[in-house]
């Protein structure tokens, strides 16, 4: 397994998946084929969660705005984390601008949907 880095585009976020236990997804997300675009990311996460190591996994998500299929995708992303047998700590930071109430609301909804995950709302 290797680190994965995907540069930002006009409609997709910057994505960093690092084997040292950090994931960050930052930017806008409205690809035309959302599930195809995120397939390598979901695959990477699945593989990572099957690795045996002792690190904390820290996930920073800062999504400015997104299409509904990205919303569905993030749901599946959280679902994968919640369902995994990963024994170590997972810390998820849902980051948003103080003025961006809609992003805050999205984060709150995910917290409601995934009570078993440690999702923190972080104001930038």
């Amino acid at each position: 397994m290797e680190n994965l880095y995907i540069e930002t585009t006009k409609y997709t976020p910057e994505i960093k998946l690092d084997l040292n236990g950090s994931i960050s997804i930052i930017g806008k997300s409205y690809p035309e084929n959302t599930f195809d675009f995120y397939e390598p990311i979901m695959k990477w996460l699945e593989d990572y969660l099957n690795l045996k190591n002792s690190e904390t996994l820290t996930i920073d998500l800062e999504i400015i705005y997104f299409n509904s299929s990205s919303s569905k995708l993030f749901f599946d992303f959280f679902d994968l984390l919640e369902e995994s047998n990963w024994n170590n700590e997972i810390k998820i930071n849902w980051i948003f601008d103080i003025e961006n109430e809609s992003a805050q609301e999205v984060g709150e909804d995910f917290i409601e949907d995934f009570p078993n995950l440690d999702i923190q709302l972080i104001v930038k």
Binding site: K10, Y11, Y30, P31, E32, N33, T34, F35, I64, Y65, F66, N67, S68, S69, S71, K72, L73, F75, D76, D97, E99, N100, E101, S102, A103, D109, D113
Partner: protein
């Protein structure tokens, strides 16, 4: 064609931009979203409200893009054209109006969702959205099947109409209203 007439209409109806033709693409959607970003920046609209406008605009235009790829639409007499207009009302609210051709099987799916949406209040729409997102049912290759619910839970008014073209195709009109909070 008199371009002055178009200019007059654009001015009178508070139109910010419009796009017409069978040329809708992901690149064009992205370019229009950027134009919209500039427009809301100039008007001092809050980040929260502008993100509502962007995400609804993206949803409407990506829906149009998906329906226009339906085989029935592309197989016979009528060229797949779509129209999307973003305008600002005198009261400061934004409107996103769209018109496109949908195949009958898409009409049935879309109409069922819209009938349901119209029967629910905001909390009901939100609950249904979360339920559909969780179940993963009705998902198709492109979207999550929850686009209309995403629009409905964010906007302040949604209306629609289908007009029959022939046995297989309909014009689909969608009118969305977004009330804004302006930055003080």
């Amino acid at each position: 064609m008199d371009i002055h007439n178009i200019q007059k209409m654009v001015d009178e109806d508070g139109i910010i931009f419009l796009s017409y033709g069978g040329f809708l693409s992901q690149e064009l959607i992205s370019a229009m979203t950027e134009a919209l970003e500039n427009e809301v920046e100039i008007n001092g609209i809050t980040i929260s409200s502008s993100n509502v406008i962007f995400s609804i605009f993206i949803e409407v235009s990506q829906n149009m893009l998906n329906y226009s790829k339906n085989k029935v639409i592309n197989s016979r007499d009528i060229t797949p054209t779509g129209l999307i207009v973003v305008s600002r009302d005198e009261d400061g609210s934004y409107c996103i109006d769209s018109q496109n051709v949908v195949a009958i099987e898409d009409k049935e799916k879309v109409e069922a969702k819209l009938i349901e949406i119209k029967s629910l209040d905001r909390d009901g729409i939100k609950a249904r959205y979360k339920e559909l997102r969780r179940s993963g049912k009705n998902t198709h290759g492109k979207g999550g099947g929850i686009g209309l619910y995403e629009i409905a839970k964010k906007c302040d008014g949604i209306d629609y109409e289908f007009i029959k073209i022939n046995e297989d195709k309909f014009y689909f009109y969608l009118k969305i209203k977004i009330n804004l909070k302006v930055r003080k």
